[in-house]
């Protein structure tokens, strides 16, 4: 096995079943295999219902796969202690507004992050680390700390969650549509932050999105999903600008271009 793969996913399958007498099955993911190397941004792209989030949730251990394996640093993901696992795998979700508890100020999730660490630092040190982390992602700690979630914009909240995962320093960050609820004008800030994570902290990122353009901007490799299966994967430039599969071709052709017009 190659040494530099942080996460290796092999034939991952998830069937959602319902009913006891007449059981019906819905395919969430089918035979999904890929690996993510250290310091790489791997993008999972597909239309709604293609199973991107199912794969992300399985890697986060939020749902159990029906069959298949997830290997983190060469060891089965489900053999880890939960706390130890989440020390290594962290997430940023779609909706920043539901990721925060509105009754506490934003210092709390940042402080709580330390509890996940093995030797958590003292109170004074924590404060220092929080301030320096916020500064590294280009936020002014005095403007952010002590505020409540409703006083921040969606983009700021999403970047705070990225800062939080920077405190834990996981080997993998699962970013599930982190920009879909943010305005186009601030979206780039979140993407740039992920790029910086990759560069500075050598963190691997699984970036889940429906937007090919975003995947192209930040990704190294990309996998296109359709109905639970990966139908094409490879380097972003190759997959997007010289696609092999007809579905990918159609998908790329459907993205409205900004500088030219379709003949309709």
């Amino acid at each position: 096995m190659k040494g530099d793969a942080v996460v290796r996913v092999k034939n991952l399958t998830k069937l959602y079943t319902s009913g006891y007498i007449r059981t019906t099955e819905v395919v969430g993911a089918k035979n999904v295999s890929f690996d993510i190397k250290k310091g790489e941004i791997f993008c999972l792209v597909g239309e709604s219902g293609s199973g991107k989030t199912t794969v992300g949730n399985m890697i986060l251990r939020l749902i159990k796969p029906t069959s298949g394996k997830i290997l983190l640093d060469g060891k089965d993901a489900f053999s880890y202690d939960k706390k130890a696992y989440w020390r290594k795998v962290q997430a940023v979700f779609q909706d920043p507004y539901s990721s925060f508890n509105f009754f506490y100020n934003v210092d709390k999730p940042l402080n709580d992050a330390f509890d996940l660490l093995e030797n958590s630092p003292s109170k004074e040190e924590r404060k220092k680390i929080i301030r320096s982390t916020l500064e590294t992602i280009g936020m002014n700690p005095d403007e952010i700390l002590g505020r409540y979630p409703h006083q921040l914009s969606g983009g700021q909240m999403q970047r705070l969650l990225i800062a939080r995962s920077l405190i834990i320093r996981p080997s993998l960050l699962v970013a599930d549509e982190p920009t879909s609820m943010i305005d186009a004008s601030t979206r780039v800030a979140v993407l740039n932050e992920l790029l910086r994570l990759k560069k500075v902290a050598k963190m691997s990122v699984l970036f889940i999105t429906h937007d090919l353009a975003q995947a192209y901007y930040i990704g190294d490799r990309i996998a296109i999903m359709k109905k639970g299966e990966i139908i094409e994967q490879g380097p972003v430039r190759k997959v997007i600008f010289s696609p092999k599969h007809p579905y990918t071709k159609n998908l790329v052709a459907s993205v409205p271009p900004l500088h030219e017009r379709w003949e309709l």
């Binding site: 709604s48 004008s185 993407l191 459907s254 409205p256 017009r261």
Partner: protein, 340 residues
Amino acid sequence: MDKNALVVKNLKGYYRGTFGVVHAVDGVSLKVDEGERVGIAGESGCGKSSFAQLITGTTTPLLHYEGGQVKVYGYDIWKISPEKMRKEVKCKLMSYVPQAMLNSLNPTKRVREFIADMMRERTGRKYSIDEVREMAIEHFERLGLDGYVLDVYPHELSGGMAQRVITAISTLGSPKLLITDEPTSALDVTSQKRMIKLMIDIQREGIIKSLICISHDLAALNQLCDRIVIMYAGVFVEDGRVDEVINNPFHPYTRMLMDSLLPLEPETKDKELSSISGVVPDLRNPPPGCRFHPRCDQCMEICTRKEPPEVEKDGRIVKCWLYTKIGEKGKRVKRHLERR
């Protein structure tokens, strides 16, 4: 009858509630000729949807009309009686497709029954199912929709299909002006393309004459519209032909917005894109002068205290001091803007 499809003059609409007064639409003017496809773009919280509600006369409870004039083919919609509005203007001259469109279909009725209901309301007589089918099927097929969608319940339709069905229903009465709010934003890219094609087809077939489309997606508007209006914090800042505005934006806001977009082009990966610093101002208390000045990188002293005039330049309207005599020699205010 008036030749202009829509004339809006100094329209104002505020939200009033315990939270205070939100100046959502604050003195905008717009003229849409017959045959035009106009897009209105901007960030969320800029008042795009409030504008759509105001020009169609269907405001949500807290939004109040505060002044100005809206004329749809000569009908001053805030002056005429609701009954006249319902009988003469809606569906005949103007149709409005609001944002969360799935909510506007009746979940307990099949699409054909819903259409029958709507026809009865509009015309005052009852329709049998066969009559409805006959009438609707031709219209639906002209728009490339299968006839079977008439017999299903709304929950059986996918998001893209539902959006197209709603658009088809709202154009049943051949309104001259169609106003749609975010028609493509909840859809996958392949459905988006179909939706854009549908709207162009409706106009080409002569079912509607003019279209106003509100969206935050500039790339989609680029495919759909001829003309684009950029809205920021309750006012229109730029108005011009869509290709000109996108390729050579005048207003600093438009330019910064264009810089933050991610087009799917080979060059995107090598560019370093940056977002606009700051947030859309709280419209309860909009900044004095130009509303964009706290986030603008070309800000001058006058921008902070006096509202900019609407300047006409190369066939475009720009609301910015930069394009006036003052702007040519005005000193820029030096400051540090966080661009990330």
